[in-house]
C-alpha cells in the first residue's frame, strides 16, 4: 500500500530524514515512534506532498507520488493532524469542511455523504451546522477523521491523533479508528511518541532517532521484549 525507498528529506541544508526505507501492506497498521525531531512526522508530510526538498522514491497503492497529480493522490491517501484545534477552518461549519474535498473532486451529492460520514464517526448529521469552536477537542478530531475519509481513501496517515486529547477521549478515538479500519478496510500509518498507543494500534512499528530508523519490530517482538537496540529499550523503560 505504501512503499518508501531510500528517502532523504532536507530542510535548509539539514537532513530531517536520512536514507529511510519501509513498506506497509494493505490493511496493515504501521507505527512510527521516536522523539521529537526524529523525522517521523516529516515522513508523513512528505508522502502527502507537503515537503518539496526530498529524494528517494515513495509510492502509494502503486502510484509514484512524484508523478501523480495531487487530486488523484488525494483519493488514495489522506492525513489526520495532531491538533484538532488548528486543523479545522474556524469559520466554516463542520458540514462545509467535510464536503469541501468532495466538491473539489466533483463527487455527486456531497451533502448526503457528509451526513453519512458524520453518522459513521459517531457524531450524527445534526452536527453539520456547528462551528469548530462549539465542539470539544475529541469531537473536533472526529470531524478531522470524517474529512479525511470523505474521498474514500485507502491509506490514512495519522500524526499523533490523540496526543492533544484527554486519556478518556483518547480511548474513544482509538476505538473509533480501529472500528473504521475494520469496517472500511483501511491501512494506517500512525505517528506517536506513546509506545502503549502504538502497541495497542499497530501490528508493526519502526523506531526512529536522529532522522534515521533504529529498528523495525512486530507487535509480538515489542511485547515479548525481543528487542535488539538499546535506544528502544530505553524508550520502553521511560514509557
Amino acid at each position: 500500500m505504501l512503499s518508501i525507498q531510500h528517502l532523504n528529506v532536507e530542510f535548509s541544508g539539514k537532513l530531517a530524514v536520512r536514507d529511510t526505507s519501509f513498506s506497509v501492506e494493505p490493511g496493515e497498521s504501521f507505527g512510527l515512534v521516536g522523539e521529537s525531531g526524529s523525522g517521523k512526522s516529516t515522513i508523513l508530510r512528505t508522502v502527502m506532498g507537503l515537503n518539496a526538498n526530498w529524494n528517494g522514491s515513495i509510492s502509494v497503492d502503486g502510484l509514484d507520488v512524484r508523478k501523480t497529480p495531487r487530486k488523484q493522490l488525494a483519493k488514495v491517501v489522506q492525513m489526520v493532524f495532531q491538533d484538532p484545534y488548528s486543523s479545522l477552518h474556524p469559520r466554516y461549519v463542520i458540514g462545509q469542511q467535510i464536503a469541501e474535498p468532495m466538491k473539489i473532486n466533483g463527487i455527486a451529492n456531497p451533502e448526503r455523504r457528509t451526513a453519512e460520514l458524520l453518522e459513521l464517526i459517531g457524531l450524527g448529521a445534526k452536527f453539520q451546522f456547528r462551528f469548530p469552536h462549539e465542539l470539544s477537542g475529541g469531537q473536533r478530531q472526529r470531524v478531522a477523521i470524517a474529512r479525511a475519509l470523505a474521498l474514500n481513501p485507502k491509506l490514512l496517515l495519522l500524526d499523533e491523533p490523540t496526543s492533544a486529547l484527554d486519556v478518556s477521549i483518547q480511548a474513544e478515538i482509538l476505538n473509533l479508528l480501529n472500528r473504521l479500519r475494520k469496517e472500511l478496510g483501511l491501512t494506517f500509518v500512525i505517528v506517536s511518541h506513546d509506545l502503549a498507543v502504538i502497541s495497542y494500534m499497530c501490528e508493526r512499528l519502526m523506531v526512529m532517532r536522529n532522522a534515521q530508523p533504529v529498528e523495525t519490530l512486530t507487535r509480538e517482538q515489542l511485547r515479548s521484549g525481543a528487542i535488539a537496540e538499546d535506544y528502544t529499550k530505553a524508550l520502553i523503560a521511560a514509557a
Partner: protein, 281 residues
C-alpha cells in the same frame, strides 16, 4: 511538616449568557507541604483554575470565593494586589503548558531569562546575569546553551521551549511551583530529565510543587500525593504509590482507559460518566 499552602473551600465561577454564574471550581480544599502534589482530571475539571486562583492570576471577570487561602503564613485572601504581585515570580512560580504562547515571541530566550533574573536581583551585573542564565539553560539539559541563548522562541522545538520556560521559573528558586502540564509537550526521554530537575528542587531546596497533569501514570510515579478532580470538585485524594488501589469509579475509569504496551487488544473501556460523580454544588 508545616503547611506551605492552605486552601479551604475555594470556588471559582464565570458568568454565563443568562446573567447567572456557572461554577467551575466548587469547594476545593487542600493543603500542601514541601512535597509533590499531583492534581489530575480531564480538561474542564478545574485543575488549572485552582492553580491560577492560588497564584492570583485569574481574569478579573472570574468570581472567586474562598474561606481560607494562605501561603507560608501569608493570608492571600486579604493580601493587596501589590503584595500578591511581589510574591509571584520570586516566591511562587508557574510553568505553563504551551511554550508557544507563554514566551515573548520578539525577544531572544536568553534576554527573557536575564530579565527574570534581574527583576529578582536588581543589583546583579549584566555579565553575571548572563552567566547565570547560561547556567540554568545547561541545568535544564539544553545541549548548546550559548547558541540557544540568542535564539527566538519560534526557532526552538516544543521540548526546548518548554525547558527554557522551566529554566526561567526555576532560576528564581521559588518556594512554590505550580506546574500546569509541564511535560505534555516533551518526549519521554526529555521528560525524565525535566522531572528530575523538578524533583531535585523539591528535595534539595524544600520547594512545594503542585503538578497539574492528565497523565495518571506519570503522576503516580512522580508525585507523593494525588488529588483527582472531576467537574470542579475533588473526588479522591490518595497517596501516589497507591493510585492503582483508587476506589472512586472516575479514577478507576481513567486508569482503565489507558492502553498498555502488553495490554489487551480488545476495544478500550470508555468512561461512562455518572451524574452522581459531580455531586451537589
Amino acid at each position: 511538616m508545616s503547611a506551605l499552602v492552605e486552601i479551604e473551600n475555594l470556588r471559582v465561577a464565570f458568568r454565563n449568557d443568562d446573567g447567572g454564574y456557572n461554577d467551575a471550581v466548587r469547594g476545593v480544599s487542600l493543603t500542601l507541604g514541601r512535597e509533590k502534589l499531583g492534581i489530575v482530571g480531564e480538561s474542564g475539571s478545574g485543575k488549572s483554575l485552582t492553580g491560577r486562583a492560588l497564584l492570583g492570576v485569574l481574569p478579573p471577570y472570574a468570581r472567586i470565593s474562598v474561606d481560607t487561602m494562605a501561603f507560608d503564613g501569608i493570608d492571600l485572601k486579604s493580601a493587596s494586589p501589590k503584595l500578591r504581585r511581589s510574591l509571584r515570580g520570586g516566591r511562587m512560580g508557574m510553568i505553563l503548558q504551551d511554550p508557544k504562547f507563554s514566551l515573548n515571541p520578539v525577544m531572544t530566550v536568553g534576554k527573557q531569562i536575564v530579565e527574570a533574573i534581574r527583576i529578582g536581583d536588581r543589583r546583579i551585573s549584566g555579565s553575571d546575569a548572563r552567566k547565570k542564565a547560561l547556567g540554568i539553560l545547561e541545568a535544564v539539559h539544553i545541549r548548546e546553551p550559548e547558541r540557544v541563548f540568542s535564539l527566538y522562541p519560534h526557532e526552538l522545538s516544543g521540548g526546548m521551549g518548554q525547558r527554557v520556560m522551566i529554566g526561567m521559573m526555576v532560576v528564581r528558586e521559588p518556594d512554590l511551583l505550580i506546574a500546569d502540564e509541564p511535560t505534555s509537550a516533551l518526549d519521554v526521554t526529555v521528560r525524565t530529565q525535566v522531572l528530575s530537575i523538578l524533583d531535585e528542587l523539591v528535595t534539595r531546596r524544600g520547594m512545594g510543587l503542585i503538578f497539574i497533569s492528565h497523565d495518571l501514570n506519570l503522576v503516580s510515579k512522580f508525585c507523593d500525593r494525588v488529588i483527582v478532580m472531576y467537574a470542579g470538585r475533588i473526588v479522591e485524594s490518595i497517596e501516589a504509590s497507591r493510585l492503582s488501589e483508587a476506589t472512586h469509579p472516575y479514577t478507576r475509569g481513567l486508569l482503565s482507559c489507558l492502553p498498555q504496551i502488553d495490554g489487551s487488544l480488545e476495544p478500550l473501556p470508555v468512561l461512562n460518566r455518572d451524574a452522581s460523580w459531580a455531586g451537589a454544588a
